[in-house]
């Protein structure tokens, strides 16, 4: 099988959301010596893009996007060790650490944001739900992310977002990381009030805002 045919097969099996087949094809591609960058760009990313187009056309829905993103992520993990340090840097837009704040068990919105970020080339560290402030601080120290995303679905838990930002200030981390907040009760005004850098209404918006925040970072 020629390289091009194999890569196109990867694209097609991502569109078909056939996780097993994508995995097999990626292994085969590695075996016959297609460069990992090429597998990502002309196989996995291209497939994911096609899924995105089908979503825009109304043929695919959020679950299709999420499954495709999971397949994508899984295979990127397989290929990452094979990339050179330069390639890694090049491929990843930024590192985002994300979690639902303490006392809040809702994580659907946060998961959507995490997936949209992965699709768009961010490295996402997902701390899950009901994350205590101390754990956020600990993990930020460990991973040194560019952005921290704090999710809260309830008006009672959204105050935790404020607490995390305070804790960042107290531990001297606030200037090292951008903070975005989201969740049903969260508004732009609330984000400003608690001193967050950004607020997103939905997952697609979150990607845009994070991209903008990081661009400003670079300009500085």
């Amino acid at each position: 099988m020629s390289n091009l045919i194999l890569l196109n097969k990867i694209v097609k099996s991502i569109i078909d959301l056939n996780d097993k087949e994508v995995k097999e094809l990626v292994e085969e591609a590695i075996k016959i010596g297609i460069s990992p960058i090429k597998i990502i760009e002309d196989g996995l990313s291209k497939g994911l893009k096609e899924v995105g187009l089908l979503y825009e056309k109304g043929e695919y829905f959020i679950p299709h996007l999420m499954i495709a993103a999971e397949i994508f992520k899984e295979n990127i993990e397989r290929l990452k060790p094979l990339l050179s340090i330069e390639e890694k840097k090049d491929k990843i837009l930024g590192r985002v650490l994300i979690g639902t704040v303490k006392g809040d068990l809702h994580d659907l919105g946060k998961n959507l944001v995490a997936i949209m970020l992965s699709i768009n080339g961010f490295e996402v560290i997902d701390l899950g739900k009901d994350v205590p402030t101390e754990l956020f601080i600990e993990k930020i120290k460990e991973y040194n992310p560019d952005v921290v995303g704090l999710s809260a679905l309830m008006s009672t838990t959204m105050y935790e977002q404020k607490n995390v930002i305070k804790a960042l200030e107290n531990s001297g981390l606030r200037n090292k990381v951008k903070v975005i907040v989201g969740g049903a009760p969260v508004t732009k005004e609330w984000a400003e009030e608690i001193g967050a850098d950004g607020y997103a209404e939905n997952a697609i918006e979150a990607v845009k805002i994070i991209k903008n925040l990081l661009k400003k970072n670079d300009e500085k």
Binding site: L17, G58, F61, I62, P63, H64, M66, I67, E70, L105, D107, L108, N111, K129, E201, N202, E205
Partner: protein
Amino acid sequence: MNKFDFSNIKSKLQLLTKEDIEKIHSSAIRILEKIGIMFDNKEALKIFNENGFEVDLEKKIVKINEEAIKEAIIKAPSRIIIYDRNGKEALFLEENNVYYNPGSAAINILDIETNNIRKPTSKDLEKFSIIVDSLPYIHAQSTALIVSDVPEIISDRYRLYIILKNAIKPIITGAFTIDGLHDMVKMLKIVTNNELSKKPIAIFDVCPSPPLMWSEITSQNLIDCAKYMVPAEIVPMPLSGATAPVTLAGTIVQHTVEALSGIVLSQIVNPGAPIIYGGSPAIFEMRYGTTPMGAIETIMIDCSYALIGKYYGLPTHSYLGLSDSKIVDIQAGFESSIGIILGALTGINVISGPGMIDFESCQSMEKLVIDNEICGMALRLIKGINITEDSLAIELIEKIGPGGHFLTSKHTIEWLKREFFIPSEIIDRFERKIWIEKNHKDCIQRAKEIVEKILKENESKKLEKEKEKALDEIINNSFKKYGF
């Protein structure tokens, strides 16, 4: 479906009980036997006379007994298949199948920019037919507009001529004159390669005149449809309190009488002639003297007589999905929704009305594309809740467990399109922020844009050249015949 069988009635909505239907049926028979019905048509009277009915030739009254009614009902087909212009099966008129088509014969069309009405032209009807062909939940065309740019005497055949030349879906139509029907059948024969009686692509509405009369033209149309074996839809139009008793029950009795009399005539002329048990009743608006099609009582009469049609084992039809509002507004939306949904729950086979406002007088392309969504929702509703081992999803719920989510399960992908009705942009389900970004349009503005988009992206589906030529000839001859 069996004839005279209550087990035919499997409607999700049943406004009449078995006992109610028995009472209405026996009341209708009593009226047909004792009082009879008037046919203002020599051929009809002759046919009844020759077949041993009690006919008063002077008063033009025919009395019809129970036996004759039974015989006619038994002869009439309980299933009618209507084909599209390409000869493909399109409508299966039986059981609780539901098909929608636009309200027909509007004398006005609404200008959405100004909310004024104007007289429709042939070009409007052509556009209208393109829109109908493109809408997924409007299953048939209707000769929806009475075009003002041709002489009235030939406008019945001219409407059909435009639809046949431009659209594929089957057509609900009707003639305004006796000659009109013959010309229309000629055109249909050409389009169907002379297989019209085997593969009908059109249904003709024939309307008795309440109370208890058939005009010369409609009697003749009914007789001729039977002769041609072309499906006829009997459309009684009792008006509660004016041309029918004020009680809904009394109106339904009279509706039954008028419908049965037509069925008997058609089955004597040609046993087995396809007949649809239809109607377009209304209550009379006692304050303003109008005929509200969106009134709840009007809709109740529709949903009730349809059950009687089902009891007889015949395909059914009704005029629902219309509104009395003068513009496309909230009233237009809710009145149409009630009719479209209750008609679907009753299992009425042909539902005519979408697009219509101002009683039965005005069509709106914008309302039609909105109504299309309501029809889609109604069709989803009657599909009901699918209960299978897989749909109950016990294993899946077990697997996901507390706190998980179902978004990335294969089960979700497999079922979502079957379970959810996915509306077009007519229905807004965006977040407010996105809605604002998309220029905060209301439903009517969106409908306007969708109409424009459909007309930009779709062309009329032209007929084969020779067929078109043959239709042109028929139309030209009828112009000549009336001296134009």
